[in-house]
């Protein structure tokens, strides 16, 4: 159905030509779901844009052939391509809210596509658009027709994007990271929906993702891409159990899954012996009846509804939940950037909840409680070099200066594995993993005792995530840190944490030792979360 031969795409940039895709070939049969897996910059999205001929300015198909049911996609006229897009091949994208026109009713956006391809007239467009909404299982479709994207949840927006893509019954659906940024239960709902629709309509599909586990679960065949080339392709079970290429092996290793240890995320040659961390059964942090209520326009919003928990010295506690469950509010209160409505936070036996967040910066315990932020890029000042970023807390709170400061910065860089020459670079000159290291170095600069990690690896590629998680484990053992690890990824939490708190709607619904909660969840919500997580096939040959 789709044949691609030696496709090469390059971009003209100010620094010359950049080859994004370097001669890839593959076929897609009717009814097949093909997964293209790769990390950022591997050229997987560019491949799909090239097939649709919607490359950004400066991008050209330099060589190769691509044909769809006999149509030459590379040479077809723009008018023909317009008929193919949406009617024969259509796409769904990541970040569904941004993928919809923010100021146009979703129903009208569906109508636009229907009428463009002559599937509806002015008279019956509304009915057909509502039918398209019902096809993607949107409840109360007639009411949703008049909604704007900002009034809908992320999962709902992705269904709308699906409705637009499927409105004209295309034969091929390209899904470009369709669930990145969505909650894990929403991810499952959207992926199940997409799979069912594809099966029911006998469509083919290409699923582009960075998540090998997700691809393995939903695809018939997987293609692993790196630097614009296909390094391996085959059956998902086979790729997982016996990856041939070194890169796919690395990728498989780095994908967190059941029954693995944190070190096994790394390639075998980098697996150093794990230094065990010591947990003292003395409480470092005791939270009692913590409540945070915001005054909303339509009455009070209960972000956190009286939660209590305890973190022992040296212990790592995972805080798991979906967006809106109150986990970010909780971490912001604990790091004392936000004042709770009521409740106590005993840190080392003393209440710190009573100190207003604005004055906590002057408190001697400010240095003891630090935070690593979710987005390594956004949490670094773009005008500060890595050295200045790390120096900031040392200078402001530690009162250091001169050669002592310089020595401490280099010591920290060595500790987090940041090469010294990179210290004078600015954030935009650093890779994602390097930025994460800078963020961690800044957080541990003052020898804190308690570190809050707010999804520190959410924006990172899996192989980088593996390295950063291992770094965190090593730091914990070396510095005797206690962690509160906030995450939505249960596999990651299991690898890193001793104890798990599961949060839903501002309350803790389940807590217990990590291995117990993961293997024998008692609360239905925990079970739902675990069931929704993609389950990659196990590796048959477990590496040492």
């Amino acid at each position: 159905m789709l044949n691609v031969r030696n496709l090469a795409v390059s971009f003209q940039t100010r620094r010359g030509q950049v080859d994004a895709v370097r001669g890839i070939s593959f076929d897609l049969a009717k009814g097949e779901i093909l997964g293209i897996v790769g990390e950022s910059g591997s050229g997987k999205s560019v491949t799909s844009y090239a097939l649709m001929r919607i490359l950004d300015a400066g991008g050209v198909i330099r060589a190769g052939e691509a044909s769809y049911s006999g149509t030459d996609l590379r040479r077809a006229s723009e008018r023909n391509m317009r008929d193919i897009r949406g009617r024969e091949i259509s796409m769904i994208f990541q970040n569904p809210r941004a993928a919809l026109n923010p100021i146009r009713k979703v129903g009208h956006q569906i109508e636009d596509v229907l009428r463009q391809h002559g599937r509806a007239t002015r008279q019956d467009a509304r009915t057909k658009a509502i039918a398209a909404l019902e096809a993607v299982r949107i409840k109360d479709a007639a009411a949703r027709y008049d909604a704007y994207p900002f009034e809908l949840s992320g999962g709902m927006c992705q269904r709308i994007v699906c409705a637009i893509a499927l409105a004209c019954d295309p034969k091929l659906l390209i899904a470009d990271e369709p669930t990145t940024g969505l909650d894990i239960t929403t991810q499952k709902a959207v992926m199940d929906l997409v799979r069912d629709l594809i099966r029911d309509r006998g469509m083919s599909s290409i699923l582009i993702t960075h998540d090998l586990g997700l691809a393995a679960q939903y695809c018939d065949r997987i293609m692993v891409m790196k630097d614009g080339q296909i390094v391996e392709q085959g059956d998902p079970v086979q790729i997982f159990s016996d990856p041939q290429h070194a890169y796919s092996r690395k990728l498989v290793d780095a994908t967190p899954r059941e029954g693995e240890s944190i070190r096994s995320l790394l390639p075998p040659e980098e697996r150093k012996a794990l230094i065990p961390h010591k947990v003292h059964p003395r409480p470092l942090l005791e939270v009692t009846d913590l409540v945070k209520t915001y005054q909303g326009k339509s009455g009070p919003v209960h972000a956190v509804r009286g939660i209590s928990f305890r973190i022992d010295q040296g212990q790592s506690v995972g805080l798991v939940g979906e967006s809106g469950c109150g986990k970010s509010t909780t971490s912001e209160i604990l790091v004392r950037l936000l004042d709770p409505t009521s409740g106590t936070i005993l840190f080392d036996g003393q209440d710190i909840a009573g100190i207003p967040a604005q004055r906590f910066v002057k408190d001697p315990r400010r240095a003891d409680i630090q935070m690593v932020f979710q987005d390594a890029t956004d949490s670094l000042n773009p005008r500060h070099s890595a050295r200045q970023t790390i120096a900031e807390p040392l200078r402001r709170l530690g009162g250091m200066g001169g050669s002592a400061l310089a020595a401490r910065i280099e010591e920290l860089a060595a500790l987090v594995g940041l090469p010294l020459p990179l210290l004078d670079r600015f954030p935009h000159q650093l890779s994602g993993g390097q930025k994460a290291r800078v963020g961690i170095a800044r957080a541990v600069a003052l020898n804190p005792r308690f570190l809050i990690l707010d999804e520190p690896t959410a924006a990172l590629d899996v192989s980088i995530q593996a390295v950063v998680l291992n770094l965190l484990v090593d730091l914990r053992a070396k510095l005797g840190l206690s962690y509160l690890f906030v995450s939505h990824d249960l596999h990651v939490v299991r690898l890193l944490c001793d104890h798990v708190l599961v949060m839903k709607d501002g309350a803790i619904v389940e807590e217990g030792p990590a291995h117990r909660v993961m293997s024998e969840p008692t609360h239905p919500y925990t079970r739902e979360l675990l069931a929704a997580a993609p389950k990659p096939p196990a590796r048959r040959i477990a590496a040492a």
Binding site: R82, G86, F93, A98, A99, N101, D112, Q116, I164, A165
Partner: protein
């Protein structure tokens, strides 16, 4: 009703917010004119006046009373629509403004329409073809527009079109003396002449208008074109444009239905700002073209400390700005459905 229509409520709320602004404007315009240097009593008593006659003038003008009392009198008169007498023209300030404000508005609005008609398509074209000759042309026009002062372009235009080519009529006011003023309905000659069906006069007024409006348009065109280009570039690189393209929508639909409507918000903001500084820049253009507008009136009144006239001018302009901001905010609500829900 209001609870169920959050947008209607937002609109009404926005209108209500204009009221305290108007009150503030009245206070400030009063205080500001009193703070001006110079004693109007001395000026109006004449060159030959002695102490006694100056004092007499002062009492006659009500300037001997304490400021709060003067203010109360002023507000009371304002309520009755009385803006006082202009001491220079000898007519009621309200009449003067009613005569001159339409002249300024006609000039400014025509200039803005002209500027939009050129700048918006130019900006859109430049954004869709970055790096091509259209883009460069846009840049040249924009740079020229901002860097040439209005009095200079005005004089150059007069020199070329009136003196050298002889196409334009003499730059003296709104209408050549061979035409009769159209009957006063709105005060906008073009509209009044059209209502009267007097196309000869309409054409005469249009000919007088084109050079000053062109001068002002050249000046206001630059920010509008730049903003259109930038906003279109941002909109075109958005994710939803890619979705629209991937769905096979036609180029014009993507460009105008999707990108342009999203780019409109910053353009409308810029238009509001441009309109306000165009009203200010008017003074020079009015002087060059002997245009009987509100700007030249204010300058003349200011020179002789004509309190009532200056106060009336400041008040009229301020009210105009309040109205303008209101219109722009309401336009936002019309363009962007997100507004009205976010506002507190």
């Amino acid at each position: 009703m209001l609870r169920t229509h959050p947008r209607l409520r937002a609109v009404l709320l926005r209108c209500a917010q204009a009221i305290p602004v108007v009150v503030g404007v009245v206070v400030i315009s009063f205080v500001l004119t009193r703070a001006l240097p110079g004693d109007p009593a001395v000026y109006f008593a004449g060159v030959m006046a002695d102490e006694a006659s100056i004092q007499e003038t002062r009492v006659a003008m009500g300037l001997d009373k304490p400021l709060p009392q003067q203010f109360l009198i002023y507000v009371g008169e304002l309520m009755r629509g009385d803006l006082g007498q202009s001491l220079t023209s000898g007519r009621a300030v309200a009449t003067d403004l009613a005569n001159r404000l339409p002249a300024s508005l006609e000039l400014t609005l025509t200039a803005l329409l002209l500027a939009c008609a050129i700048a918006i398509p130019l900006g859109v074209l430049a954004a869709t073809r970055p790096g091509t000759w259209v883009d460069h042309l846009c840049r040249v026009i924009v740079t020229a527009g901002v860097s040439l002062p209005t009095f200079f372009t005005g004089i150059v235009l007069i020199y070329v079109f009136y003196y050298l080519l002889g196409i334009a009529p003499s730059p003296l006011g709104r209408l050549d003396f061979i035409y009769l003023e159209p009957e006063h309905v709105t005060g906008f000659y073009l509209i009044d002449a059209a209502i009267a069906g007097d196309w000869e006069t309409w054409w005469g007024a249009a000919k007088q208008l084109i050079l000053p409006a062109g001068t002002l348009a050249l000046f206001t065109l630059a920010p509008v074109a730049r903003m259109t280009r930038a906003a279109m570039l941002t909109a075109l690189s958005s994710d939803f444009i890619r979705t629209a393209r991937a769905a096979g929508l036609s180029r014009s639909r993507v460009l105008y239905g999707y990108a342009f409507r999203n780019a409109l918000l910053p353009v409308v903001t810029t238009l509001g700002m441009v309109f306000s500084f165009a009203l200010g820049a008017n003074v020079l253009v009015e002087k060059v073209f002997a245009w009987p507008g509100i700007g030249s009136y204010a300058v003349e009144a200011l020179v002789v400390s004509d309190y009532a006239a200056v106060q009336g001018f400041v008040l009229a302009m301020a009210l105009l700005f309040v109205l303008l901001n209101l219109v722009i905010d309401l336009l936002y609500t019309a363009i962007d459905p997100r507004i009205g829900f976010d506002s507190k």
